[in-house]
């Protein structure tokens, strides 16, 4: 697939950096303190009871679309809106290319879900709803920047030039991660929640020692924010002033648990407790997400240390193909978020601004279908791994012990070839 080059051809130039550093964070301080107050009040109301934040107005508070702290550049209806601290300055080609990525990764995601239902994948973690958060943040990265994903960053993988087929290999069980993290500057999917945020921080510490001008972005979720590792990453990044952007996709749910089960105040506020800025951005707004991430990366490069970006978004599908969201959330929630769909708003923007015409969208649909067809075909054709490969790459310097274990197993397998009866058992 040549999309890698394409992306580079029409990839956005850096828009000019904007406004006073950190002012975004400062601006939110007061608001947050008052939120803290209401949080406390709300909990006072229930006295010594152990009702959880989820049962309080906090839910509403957190979900409120009219959140003053929410950085937005593209309204759900596709209208461009201005923000004092953030702006983007894209060419029409760049706008189209951003939309193209949104469409293609959603199509890949849909195809993967289908393949899973057909038994071609063991499991799939859909990104539907989070395309803008992922494309917006990933497109803000420079080639030399390093990204550390969770298991749902298919859009980021796409922007880092990881062949979607290779991505599927992991979910098909062909391997545990097929791409070269250092070739793509995209680490392997990390399934243990939060662990990668420390890897990202350490990698950023390494960049400091190399005198590099690059930066690191660490992806994690609202649920992950509760893990000790993530908070230790905040400690290390702040203390060493490491060039790392902590990018939290708050998709409102950690499997069945609402984000209020992880924090009773907005998650971007967590950063203030560690001494670095936090920003909440509309994660369904690819332009705002790009601008906010780009600014945070620029701060990191220029020695201003870490930033926490909370991309406020929504997981429109199931947690994974094993999950049944109807057990824990109501349809109307999904319906409400559909109105904020990241693709729709970009599409109507392109239309209204006459940045793209029918033919563009038609061609894009065709491209997406072709991509999906190729993917489906090559996924089915993926070669099975060889049994003896189990013993490969346990160590760089192989051990005698494993060499013998491998030999014994090879002999054991041969015994079935020889004796038909063996296989017959």
């Amino acid at each position: 697939m040549a999309r890698d080059d394409m992306a580079r051809d029409d990839g956005p130039d850096r828009p000019v950096a904007v406004q006073a550093p950190g002012s975004g964070a400062d601006a939110t301080a007061a608001a947050a303190e008052s939120e803290l107050e209401s949080a406390t009040k709300a909990t006072q109301a229930v006295g010594n009871s152990f009702l959880t934040a989820g049962d309080l107005d906090l839910a509403a508070l957190l979900r409120s679309p009219a959140d003053p702290d929410l950085v937005q550049l593209l309204a759900p209806e596709g209208e461009r809106v201005e923000h004092p601290d953030y702006a983007v300055d894209f060419s029409d080609a760049q706008y189209r290319s951003l939309y193209r990525d949104l469409v293609l990764v959603r199509r890949i995601d849909r195809e993967a879900s289908t393949l899973q239902r057909q038994g071609e994948l063991g499991i799939w973690a859909p990104l539907a709803g989070q395309e803008a958060a992922q494309i917006g943040s990933a497109r803000a990265l420079r080639p030399g920047d390093m990204a550390f994903p969770t298991y749902r960053e298919h859009g980021v993988a796409w922007c880092r030039g990881v062949d979607p087929l290779v991505l599927l290999g992991l979910f098909r069980g062909v391997n545990l991660g097929g791409w070269d993290p250092l070739e793509h500057n995209f680490s392997l999917y990390t399934i243990v929640i939060g662990a990668q945020t420390l890897h990202a921080t350490g990698y950023a510490m390494g960049m400091q020692r190399d005198g590099s001008e690059d930066a690191v972005i660490a992806y994690f979720g609202d649920g992950a924010s509760s893990q000790g590792d993530v908070n230790e990453a905040f400690v290390y990044a702040a203390v060493y002033n490491a060039p790392v952007v902590f990018f939290c996709q708050n998709n409102q749910w950690a499997i069945s648990e609402p984000s209020e089960r992880q924090s009773r105040i907005p998650l971007y506020r967590r950063a203030s407790g560690f001494g670095f800025p936090g920003v909440r951005v509309d994660g369904n707004d690819v332009l705002a997400t790009y601008a906010v991430t780009e600014k945070a990366l620029a701060d990191a490069r220029s020695g201003q240390g870490p930033t926490l970006v909370e991309a406020f978004t929504y997981r429109m599908g199931a947690h994974t193909s094993n999950d049944d969201p109807t057990r824990y959330r109501l349809d109307h929630e999904l319906e409400a978020w559909k109105l904020k769909d990241p693709l729709e708003r970009m599409k109507s923007f392109l239309y209204k601004q006459q940045i793209a015409d029918r033919s563009f969208f038609d061609d894009l649909d065709t491209e997406a279908e072709t991509l999906a067809r190729q993917l489906r075909k090559s996924c089915r054709e993926m070669p099975e791994p060889q049994p003896l490969s189990i013993f490969d790459d346990v160590y760089v310097e192989p051990t005698e012990h494993l060499r013998r274990q491998r030999e014994d197993y090879a002999a054991y397998l041969d015994s079935f070839e020889d004796a038909a009866v063996g296989g017959g058992r």
Partner: protein, 324 residues
């Protein structure tokens, strides 16, 4: 006899325990509305409320650490670790606090905490969802470790574990959760820390636990067609080990094969082999053989059938044992 599954039996056992003792709490990730990713706690929050069935923040050390405090306050927390591979963030609290607090306090504080861990492979999952970490808990003094393999045991052992004043690591054979099997809640249960002969035999003793018990029984059935009589012991208790039961069998068969999914190196098989050999040195006709996962990380799921011990590998070990 009525049929059920291990998952349902666990659910009923938990319900029984909660009805019997109001101090019993369930806590973990997604154990509430969702009923756990395996539905083992299905319906319990609805019936016992949010204060007794607690959806926790996504932090395992927090689950176990707060359970310690709750236990000190007089509660009996039953903590669910969502998958075997995610117990490690809580390992420090388990090893240095849960296991040692009773000893540290010279017996003044006891921590009746049950930690449920669905374990083992064979479900076509991604990384960290198919681990068998039991040996990492058996080596820790102060913990008791058990594994159930049948619906009846699941039902009784979970209640016994919760009733135990000692902390219990409770391993559940996740790939067997949904296998239909006879279920008789009324059937009396042996003490928690006793092994059980699940199939009597004369030629070779097979010791297994959790998901491998089914595999061992299948192997025994296959062996019978070849005229070999295997005795299968379901260990049930991994720490303390029920050596009396194992030795009694080995004294008769003089041959022992231990089967587990966990990597052989440093697994339970070595400990059992060492103890049995020390006790029955002159009686053994063959060295204790081990059939275990390979000494590699758990591979991608397309290779797990190669990685995991199966009927053929058990029978191969039986052949080798009998060749001595």
């Amino acid at each position: 006899m009525p049929k059920s599954t291990i998952a349902r039996a666990l659910n009923e056992g938990l319900r029984k325990a909660m009805e019997k003792d109001s101090k019993v709490l369930i806590m973990g990730e997604d154990v509430g509305k969702l009923g756990g990713v395996f539905r083992v706690t299905d319906g319990l929050q609805k019936d016992f409320g949010e204060d007794r069935v607690i959806d926790t923040p996504l932090a395992e050390s927090g689950i176990i650490g707060t359970a310690v405090g709750l236990a000190m306050r007089g509660f009996r927390p039953v903590c669910e670790i969502q998958f075997d591979g995610f117990v490690f963030p809580a390992y420090d609290q388990i090893v240095s606090q849960v296991a040692k607090f009773h000893y540290r306090s010279q017996g003044k504080v006891s921590l009746p905490i049950t930690i449920r861990i669905p374990f083992g492979g064979g479900i076509g999952a991604v990384e960290h969802h198919s681990e068998s970490p039991e040996a990492l808990f058996c080596h820790i003094a102060g913990l008791k470790v058990v594994a159930c393999s049948s619906a009846n045991d699941a039902y009784s052992m979970i209640q016994q574990s919760i009733a135990s004043d000692d902390p219990v690591i409770f391993f559940e054979p996740k790939r067997r959760y949904w296998e239909k099997a006879d279920f008789d809640p009324a059937a009396g249960a042996p003490p928690l820390h006793r092994a059980r002969v699940v199939r009597p035999g004369a030629d070779v003793t097979i010791v297994a636990y959790g998901p491998m018990v089914r595999t061992a029984l299948d192997a025994a059935a296959a062996a019978e067609t070849e005229g070999r009589s295997l005795e299968v012991i379901d260990l049930r208790t991994l720490s303390p080990l029920d050596m009396d039961a194992i030795l009694e069998s080995v004294r008769r068969t003089r041959r022992l094969v231990v089967v587990h999914e966990a990597p052989g190196n440093g697994g339970l098989g070595g400990e059992i082999a060492a103890r049995v050999t020390e006790s029955e040195f002159y009686r053994l006709e063959a060295p204790v053989l081990r059939v275990a996962g390979f000494d590699t990380p758990y591979p991608g799921s397309q290779l797990e059938d190669n990685y995991l011990p199966d009927l053929d590998r058990v029978l191969d070990a039986v052949d080798r044992s009998l060749d001595y």
